[in-house]
């Protein structure tokens, strides 16, 4: 084993350029495959989630403005009058229908005490608390009616990421009272712009207090609203109110229908992703085959010398395989670092990556076995 490892390391450095190309190709292919698998597993999860809540989702709608302005746009500056219309409409739909909404807000400087820039703060209303948070609470409780009244302490439901740092009842920065901690890996689907589940582990939810609503960025209010509507008359009632306050009228996108449309829109994208990944995979296998042959021919005589001098074929196979194993380890480490730092892919994608790497290792192992037999 020691001899095999020494041989492997010396071979690794002798073919440093070839091995660098192989490592990068393997890294790129693994990443592509992971992205595709991640996408499909998210899609499967959202389908499952929607099916489990079908009775609710059949009646749940997103509100889309009919004007050219459509919904919230980061590059647009909203007039005070327009923002007030959002607040009025929000109050109307919250008062007459079930409207659940949660949206990200900017952190105050003192919020950083929760754990720095990686913490996300979300406002949520009472219906969101009842429909989404309640079922995902690990300890404590979700928000109650009293939490939605202004007071000196703001109630907060923290994701599992804060469980080690804070307990229910803790007061953070004399400002937030932790009333609940969410289960590990809790998530929900917004279904507004994409399929990706919103991971709640690093989110701190605070109540969207109606009395303070003028102080929040109200441009988000309608864009993030999910309204449960029973009939077409409800659509009309909302649009009549929009006319009344001189706001744009709305189209109502059913959540299930929205999902179907998103799937249709993304079909081309998925096709391209699959094609790209398959191409990468073929390139990887081709390069591996060619490079492995080149490397082997280049050092055939050296391996014969080792064999003559007393190395077993097992040792030679092991040395060749260890070289590939080191490449695999490097590529896998790169993928994991990129994933942890930027992508945050799900467990299914990581499992798929591991299976791919094992299959690749078997492919290489078999190839090396045939080559070593030639000695």
């Amino acid at each position: 084993m020691k001899i095999a490892l020494m041989l492997a390391i010396s071979q690794l450095f002798k073919n440093v350029k070839i091995n660098a190309i192989l490592t990068l190709t393997l890294f790129a292919t693994s990443l592509c495959l992971m992205i595709v698998v991640n996408y499909f597993s998210d899609l499967a999860r959202v389908d499952l989630y929607v099916n489990e809540n079908k009775s609710l989702y059949d009646k749940t709608y997103s509100m889309i403005r009919t004007s050219e302005l459509k919904n919230y746009n980061f590059s647009r500056i909203y007039s005070r009058e327009e923002l007030e219309k959002n607040v009025k409409m929000h109050r109307f739909i919250s008062g007459n229908f079930t409207n659940y909404c949660a949206f990200r807000r900017g952190a105050n400087p003192s919020d950083l005490i929760f754990g720095g820039d990686s913490v996300e703060f979300y406002y949520c209303n009472e219906s969101f608390s009842d429909l989404i948070l309640t079922g995902r609470i690990m300890g404590g409780r979700s928000f109650e009616e009293s939490d939605f009244s202004a007071s000196s302490l703001t109630s907060a439901v923290a994701g599992f990421g804060f469980a080690e740092k804070y307990s229910v009842g803790d007061v953070v920065d004399n400002r937030y009272l932790i009333v609940g901690i969410l289960k590990k890996g809790a998530n929900y689907f917004n279904l507004q712009h994409n399929y990706y589940p919103i991971d709640m582990d690093n989110i701190v939810f605070t109540p969207l207090i109606p009395d303070d609503i003028d102080n929040v960025n109200s441009a988000f209010l309608i864009d993030n609203a999910k309204v449960v509507l029973e009939s077409r008359e409800d659509f009309e009632s909302i649009n009549n109110y929009a006319d009344h306050i001189s706001m744009d009228r709305f189209n109502f996108a059913n959540q299930c229908e929205l999902l179907r449309l998103m799937k249709s829109d993304d079909r081309v994208l998925v096709g391209n992703e699959i094609f790209f990944s398959a191409t990468m995979l073929l390139i990887l296998l081709f390069l591996t085959f060619v490079f492995q042959k080149l490397k082997f021919w280049g050092r055939m005589s050296e391996l014969k010398v080792h064999c003559i001098c007393g190395s077993s074929l097992c040792n030679i196979w092991l040395a060749e395989f260890l070289e590939i194993a080191i490449i695999l380890l490097l590529a896998a480490s790169l993928v994991f670092v990129v994933n942890i730092r930027f992508l945050h892919m799900n467990a299914v994608a990581i499992a798929a990556l591991i299976i791919c790497l094992i299959t690749y290792a078997l492919f290489c192992g078999l190839m090396i076995y045939n080559e070593v037999a030639e000695i």
Binding site: K304, V305, C309, S312, L313
Partner: protein, 219 residues
């Protein structure tokens, strides 16, 4: 004389798509300790195949091969490698040296595989001096002539003091003066109780052997 090599019904066939070719059939050979055996025959008659089997590098044969009373077909891959390292010194037909290593390191490679705690430097110096490569030990194989590399290859085969030397045309690229030196060295090994089996086309070499196996007749 006790037996170092006992070969019984040895047959070697090369199988290819749609058929097979037999190189030699049912060879029965016994070689005692201290023998100097020459193997002669035209190119392609199976000399190298036979020597590779004797060197334990090819197990794809029919029949039995006992070396030092051990049936090498029964050894595991690892044990066979260790046995080869300890008992057999093989000099291949093509000069095989690792170009990244110095001549000294190349010669000492079998000793490293044997895990010798005591460095065989004295024997390395002895062999290098006898084979006329003492001043070349620090050089890389690419800096040497064909004959010098061949002598380094011979020194490598001898470094572990094996009981059996299997040499496949070891004097091909060596001048007459060095052939004398190599033959003398081989003879000394036989006198010390080891055995040498060498394939050759050179009548000068075969004439010095105790026994000559002519593969033309054997086949």
């Amino acid at each position: 004389m006790s037996e170092l090599i006992k070969v019984a019904s040895l047959t070697k066939e090369y199988v290819y798509k749609g058929g097979s070719t037999s190189v030699f059939n049912n060879l029965d050979i016994r070689v005692g300790f201290g023998s100097f055996v020459g193997v002669v025959g035209v190119s392609g008659c199976g000399k190298s195949s036979f020597l590779k089997i004797l060197a334990g590098l090819d197990l794809g044969f029919k029949g039995e091969y006992f070396l030092n009373n051990i049936n090498i077909s029964t050894l595991t891959n690892k044990k066979l490698a260790s046995f080869r390292n300890e008992v057999i010194g093989y000099i291949p037909q093509e000069i095989l040296l690792i170009n990244d290593m110095s001549i000294a390191d190349n010669i000492l490679l079998p000793a490293k595989y044997a895990g010798l705690k005591k460095s065989p430097n004295d024997y390395l110096w002895f062999l290098a001096e006898r084979l006329g490569i003492k001043t070349l030990l620090h050089k890389k194989p690419t800096e040497l002539s064909g004959g010098e590399r061949q002598r380094a290859s011979i020194a490598r085969a001898l470094i572990n003091r094996p009981k059996l030397i299997v040499a496949d045309e070891p004097t091909t690229s060596v001048d007459d003066q060095n052939i004398e030196i190599i033959m003398k060295l081989f003879r000394e090994i036989c006198v010390d109780g080891g055995s040498v089996i060498t394939a050759t086309h050179d009548a000068n070499v075969s004439s010095r052997c105790d026994i000559v196996l002519d593969f033309k007749n054997i086949k």
